[in-house]
Symmetry: C2
Subunit: 202 residues, 2 copies
DNA sequence: GTCTATAAATCGATAGAC
DNA sequence: GTCTATCGATTTATAGAC
């Protein structure tokens, strides 16, 4: 499964054959089929591991944060950015999800995983509201949807054009959660993916 | 090509064979190959048509809007929502993009299209800033990236779980462009996918 | 549980006649 | 430009021995 992870991340879902996975792991195709129902099952197991990992990270990050709004927000932002930076995972998930559009059972499995993350983020936001009396511009659930969706969307954008800034996430988090004050727009130090550019792309 | 559009939208990229497209259109595979270089070329042509269409819609919507910030923002929001509601297009684009991860040439073609939309949205935002003196929390370029990415991300989320609210987009647009004032979070009429709410969104 | 061998099916792409 | 026929390559999945 470790090998499967690597291979699927590197080659994508469709392009990675079970034979390749098996051989790289030092086994034969038959061995794979005696441990997994098939290709879909294997990928799902791999993805599952990753989803658990993501949730654990988020949980750990938030718990480790000091009991201030800023610290907790920083923890969330860090997780959020790591999620987007996990470009290969994002692409794998998207490819697998779209490749199995005609398999309702698998789509449902994926949906459940997304819901778990969504629920956790929602609860996190609600907690924030209760503890710190934060006033939000959107309901916690909607806000969570937006945050998660923006994560996926940015991961996708960065697949085609890696130059897309990841720092906008922290800005946005600040805007939505705390600093509801306007910021001048012509600030020359606006975010950029590739630091050497001293001219923030048009 | 019209048939190709329908077939690819309905069945997705990989699952739709050229033979199927050809036969549905009343032709044979050979006919397809004498008009397109191959499957990738055909899909790209179909997508291209769609991208042009999207940009035209945006252009037209904005131009038709009255010269007030609200009207122009409404035009943009309408376009934005229609983009997300075009779920099948979103999925097709994602599937094709991830299925051709190992074809740099095609990835580049897709990236160029995304850049066109991104540039147009950026210019739109800059125009807004100049005309109405709007003060933004992010640079126009970053903001455009966020808006477009959020569109893709929501389209993806809705593929797995169609219950995700689309109305958050107008809220968010208002938050980012005009109403930089907090709104109570415990409003019971928070957004919902099913419209029976007679409360005009927050 | 793992292996080898093979089935079974799909599909993109091409060749060549008309 | 379009058609028919076919190649070629890939890959999932299974059968059966060990």
């Amino acid at each position: 499964m470790e090998v499967a992870s690597d291979e699927f991340l590197e080659g994508g879902y469709r392009a990675t054959s079970l034979e390749r996975v098996a051989e790289t792991a030092g086994f034969s195709k038959g061995a794979v089929y005696s441990n997994f129902a098939g290709k879909e099952d294997l990928v799902l197991a791999v993805l599952d591991q990753h989803f658990v990992h993501r949730l654990d990270n988020l949980r750990a990050g938030v718990q480790a944060a000091a009991e201030t709004l800023d610290a907790r927000l920083a923890a969330f932002t860090a997780w959020w950015e790591s999620m987007v930076a996990d470009e290969e995972w994002g692409v794998l998930i998207m490819e697998f999800a779209s490749a199995t559009r005609d398999r309702p059972l698998i789509q449902e499995q994926l949906a459940v995983r997304e819901q778990h993350i969504l629920s956790f983020v929602t609860a996190l936001i609600e907690d924030e509201v209760e503890r710190f009396g934060v006033t939000l511009p959107l309901s916690p659930r909607d806000l969570a949807s937006v945050l998660v969706a923006l994560g996926s969307g940015l991961a996708f954008s960065r697949m085609l054009a890696p130059a897309i800034p990841i720092g906008v996430l922290s800005d946005l988090a600040r805007i939505l959660f705390v600093d509801r004050q306007a910021v001048p727009v012509d600030d020359p130090s606006s975010r950029s993916a590739t630091p050497p550019a001293d001219q923030p792309v048009s």
